[in-house]
């Protein structure tokens, strides 16, 4: 994976997906996928939270802002949450966040929620593979680069305004 960064502009680009998995279902399922020697795309990198309900919308936004091309959230199936209803709280939040992201111009395929129970190692594999392919098709999001560009544009704008004001006062 270390080489992917270097080939950012070329075909060597690899999607970078940040995955938030809940401790009891999806993280355990990912464990099972590993123990069962299932192969999946190496593009998703997992952060463990105790419950999908712990997912602060800020985490998702931060991941995108830091350069993630996709964010995947995995939780227990409805009714199966270890903490009874944390996944419902997550669902509510994520649906809202998805609408916001769409308005921000981030494609809906870049932010995905999946219910994966502890026994569904196979589903971890297919979910990660499918999402990787979808994000690959969308191409890099590259928010950090865009931030730099936007900052440059803002600087330029600021200079122009300053120059105009100076001309006005002169």
């Amino acid at each position: 994976m270390a080489s992917t960064g270097m080939k950012q502009e070329t075909n060597g680009w690899e999607p970078r997906i940040v995955a938030f998995f809940c401790n009891w279902c999806t993280y355990t399922a990912a464990d099972l996928a590993g123990v069962s020697r299932l192969r999946h795309a190496p593009n998703a990198r997992v952060i463990r939270v105790m419950c999908s309900g712990r997912l602060d919308p800020q985490f998702v936004l931060e991941a995108f802002a830091r350069g993630a091309d996709g964010v995947l959230v995995g939780g227990c199936h409805p009714g199966d949450c270890h903490y009874m209803e944390g996944n419902y709280k997550a669902l509510r939040r994520i649906r809202f966040l998805q609408r916001m992201m769409k308005d921000m111009g981030i494609h809906e395929d870049r932010f995905h929620l999946e219910w994966i129970s502890a026994s569904e190692g196979e589903k971890v594999k297919t979910t990660i593979n499918e999402m990787t392919e979808k994000v690959r098709a969308l191409g890099p999001l590259g928010l950090p680069e865009r931030f730099v560009k936007w900052d440059e544009e803002m600087d330029e704008l600021e200079h122009t305004i300053a120059a105009q004001e100076e001309a006005l006062h002169a």
Binding site: T4, I47, M50, G53, F59, H82, Y83, R93
Partner: protein
């Protein structure tokens, strides 16, 4: 067949006649892709017991229709062996249908069991006076309500889920709640009693310890940041959060908190934090995961 039952132990049909032939059909709703896929485990033995009692209390011919006889257990196989010598008929095959349509004169007024005898490879019609079904074991209809009440998990079939099939067979994912018997899966009486003993011992060891270990990852309130908005109160599934009316701040009871962190994500002021899963920790994780990418955009 019960001596203290309504017939006084006498085997009678609804119309008062004594049946001359009885058919016992095994695996009704068990080991079947169309219904329940699991083996109900107890039916083989109680059907054999019933067959034995029928033979003992009446002079009826008894037929058992089975897929496999699963007589695993202490002295079970010997009991099965004994029945084979008692002139009880065993037909290996899944029953296709039970019908009252008579194809031959001797089937008139009888129930006809149609079955493929897989040991001789012939489809048979067995006319009987009485049919007994060994119905498969299922979770109780209200098991979901009980599950929710105690906050424990179910397997996909609806039986309560143990914490670990080998290492923690009576524990649940909720501390202090133990399971025993057929609520966890099909089980006979000796196994249920053994499991109940284990569950009782587990409960006692919890009581005997005198103290309870708490989750390390509980949430706590940073009082100076709390605006007392009450957003967190309704969100907690364990009612661990209350509002201190004097201080006008939220308060988390650490003994009740299970550490899911839902309130942490909910708090609009960022006043609730979670041990081991602080916001800063997760932001650092995100940062770390995307590190080599960042070095490209900034350093490259």
């Amino acid at each position: 067949m019960n001596a203290s039952g309504p017939t006084g132990g006498d085997l009678v049909l609804r119309d008062g006649r004594h049946p001359k032939t009885v058919g016992i059909i095994h695996c009704v709703g068990s080991r079947d892709r169309n219904t329940n896929r699991w083996c109900s485990r107890t039916c083989c033995m109680y059907s054999l017991k019933l067959a034995h009692l029928l033979k003992e209390h009446s002079d009826a011919e008894v037929y058992n229709f089975y897929i496999d006889i699963r007589a695993a257990g202490k002295a079970y196989e010997e009991f099965y062996d004994k029945l084979l010598e008692e002139n009880i008929h065993f037909v290996r095959g899944r029953v296709a249908e039970v019908t009252d349509w008579a194809a031959r004169p001797e089937e008139e007024g009888k129930l006809v069991i149609r079955v493929e005898d897989t040991l001789i490879g012939v489809v048979r019609r067995v006319p009987v006076d009485m049919v007994v079904l060994a119905v498969g074991m299922e979770p109780q209809a209200d098991s979901q309500d009980v599950r929710r009440m105690f906050n424990i998990s179910c397997s996909t079939e609806g039986f309560f889920l143990e914490r670990h099939p080998k290492l923690a067979p009576v524990d649940t994912f909720t501390d202090g709640i133990y399971i025993a018997g057929a609520c966890q899966g099909p089980k006979d009486i000796p196994d249920s009693v053994a499991q109940a003993g284990a569950a009782a011992a587990q409960a006692l060891s919890l009581i005997d310890a005198g103290e309870i270990e708490l989750e390390p990852n509980t949430a706590y309130v940073v009082e100076k940041d709390c605006s007392g908005c009450k957003s967190c109160l309704a969100i907690c599934p364990y009612t661990a959060i209350t509002r201190d009316e004097v201080k006008q701040k939220a308060f988390i009871n650490e003994a009740l908190c299970k550490g899911c962190g839902t309130c942490v994500a909910t708090c609009p002021s960022g006043a609730i934090r979670q041990n081991l899963f602080e916001d800063e920790q997760i932001f650092s994780e995100i940062d770390g995961l995307l590190q080599d990418r960042e070095s490209v955009s900034t350093g490259g």
